[in-house]
């Protein structure tokens, strides 16, 4: 709205003026690089979380049947240990070497395997039919024992009726030899065990609430303007201020890994490690100059400990109540204002307490999803200004994947 002739003439002279500019490309380039790294870090975080979830799933899927080794053990022993299946007399039969020679001929590794093997007797009732007058014969017989005292163990494990002919193949344990209820007995027992007394790993992410419009008026006070550097003195370089604008707090993000251990059928205790990222935006005084809308980024690493009581427990659904406490250490604090970046150390720990209820849904026997709405209170531990200092009581919504191990 130029109404004055002098204004118009000045405007004509100044409009479109060009002038060689000082070379600030280097500073721009560095600023762009910082922003690029920030974007990459965010992407990496998301990718890492996804990779962790996939890895956990893959471990779960490809780890194989839980009792596979136990089933095969008797067969393996039967193949490698002639003392278990061959009677003493058989060792004298033509075509079959004496047992001492067979044992001596075994590769060293096979011997080692045999020594490491679990006791075989309970796993092969169909093969071993001890004499009625010698009940002690069903005691586990280790390969090591066989090596030292073959004469003692050999007659114990077979009955004369089952002596194989010298030209017949030795009888090995097959599934037909197992009791009819062997598999169902093992599996049902395992399922029951899993449902009640199984340790769990959780991969979690957590959102906490901020005020509805995201803005809170920050009133400076000594209690939490405590960015510290050097020997714990409050810094004089950067001070939050509410002089021009209200502070703005973004939704904090938390990711973590937890392991839960059962105490009883219904109680369990869990612990792990969490990472939290908090971003705030407020005015700061930097070297006594006001910078509006500076970003403050806080990185916390914490260790939570929780106790849960499971009051609903079905094969697919669990409902529980839990209380927990956490100690978190701020491992990084950064201010970004304009093209400037300043880092400061933060002393002390952030303590918090949480209580809530949770529900979990096991869509396959070993993996489930859970949702824990809860209330969390952050104690005043003289930490830097953040949503936690301004709004200590928050609603927290934790979701995650849970794996039985």
């Amino acid at each position: 709205m130029v109404t004055n002739d002098f204004d118009q003439r000045l405007r004509d002279r100044l409009e479109g003026v060009t002038e060689p500019a000082p070379d600030v490309w280097e500073g721009i380039s560095k600023g762009l690089e910082r922003r690029r790294r920030k974007v990459l870090f965010r992407r990496f975080t998301v990718a890492a979380a996804a990779a962790a979830a996939v890895l956990a799933l893959a471990l779960l899927v490809f780890r194989g049947p839980r009792n596979g080794g136990q089933v095969e053990a008797p067969v393996q022993i039967a193949q490698t240990d002639p003392a278990v299946t061959a009677p003493a007399e058989a060792s004298q039969s033509p075509g079959i070497a004496p047992i001492e020679e067979q044992i001596a001929a075994l590769p060293q590794q096979a011997m080692a395997d045999a020594r490491m093997s679990k006791p075989v007797t309970p796993k092969k009732p169909a093969v071993v039919e001890p004499a009625a007058e010698e009940p002690a014969a069903i005691e586990p017989v280790e390969a090591a024992t066989v090596v030292e005292e073959p004469a003692v163990t050999t007659p114990v494990v077979t009955t004369p009726a089952e002596e194989p002919k010298a030209d017949e193949p030795q009888h090995l344990l097959t599934e037909d030899d197992l009791p009819a209820d062997y598999w169902t007995r093992e599996e049902s027992s395992e399922k029951s065990h899993n449902r009640t007394h199984t340790s769990q790993i959780s991969i979690l992410s957590n959102l906490t609430t901020v005020s509805s419009d995201g803005d809170l008026l920050y009133i400076p006070s000594a209690s939490h303007a405590s960015s510290q550097s050097g020997k714990g003195q409050a810094t004089t370089d950067i001070e939050p201020t509410s002089e021009a604008n209200a502070a703005k707090f973004y939704v904090p993000l938390t990711f973590g890994l937890q392991v839960a251990f059962p105490l009883t059928d219904r109680f369990s205790v869990a612990t792990g490690v969490t990472y939290s990222y908090l971003v705030s935006q407020y005015d700061i005084l930097y070297k006594k100059v006001l910078y509006e809308g500076a970003y403050n980024q806080l990185h916390y690493v914490g260790v939570p400990v929780s106790l849960s009581y499971r009051f609903v427990q079905t094969p697919h659904v669990g409902v529980y109540a839990s209380v927990s406490g956490a100690a978190e250490k701020c491992v990084g604090q950064r201010y970004v204002f304009g093209s400037n970046v300043a880092s400061e150390k933060v002393k002390g720990l952030q303590w918090s307490a949480k209580a809530g209820i949770g529900v979990e849904y096991w869509f396959i026997p070993h993996m489930g999803i859970y949702f824990d709405p809860s209330l969390v209170y952050f104690f005043d531990n003289k930490q830097p200004l953040s949503i936690r200092t301004q709004q200590p009581l928050q609603a927290s919504f934790e979701v995650g994947l849970r794996f039985k191990i």
Binding site: M1, L10, V17, P22, W25, R35, E292, S339
Partner: protein, 185 residues
Amino acid sequence: MRKTSTYTEADLISGCAHGDREAQRMLYERYAPVMYPVCVRYLGREDAKDILQEGFLTVFDKIGTYKGEGSFEGWMRKIFVNASLMHIRKVDVLRRTEDIDETPETSGVLEHGVLEQISSREILDLVAGLPVGLRSVFNLFVMEGYSHAEVGALLGITEQSSRSQLSRARSLLQEKIKQLYHGNK
């Protein structure tokens, strides 16, 4: 040899939007000489360099929001004006009332042809040398075309104060131009 001349403005904008560092550098080289005087007018030569850097970072950050409506140079210029005003607010200089109250009101009409004898760079330096409050009002009203109500809202002053400061800015500029003209003669 740089390929600046082979790239159209649209190519550069597209390249910058995709984070192409070469396109960003070309855009900087093309527009820095245009935007630097804008920063000088608002802040003086001392601070203009910092805002030039900050302004370009904002441009590269926001360039994806440019929809091709209006001139790109005008869009960039708004960013640099806003960055300059932000800087002025940061250092809180507008609250220094001595700028306003202690600036003498001068009178006199600039003779015809005097302004034409002064170079654009000299005029730029005269504007940049005004007290910050007067300079801000002058730039926003005369150069950007805002009304006094809008200037008042942007700077956090009353409309009347904007009028008053513009009047003082004009008088002071005319006085300095006269001095410069007679000094050059």
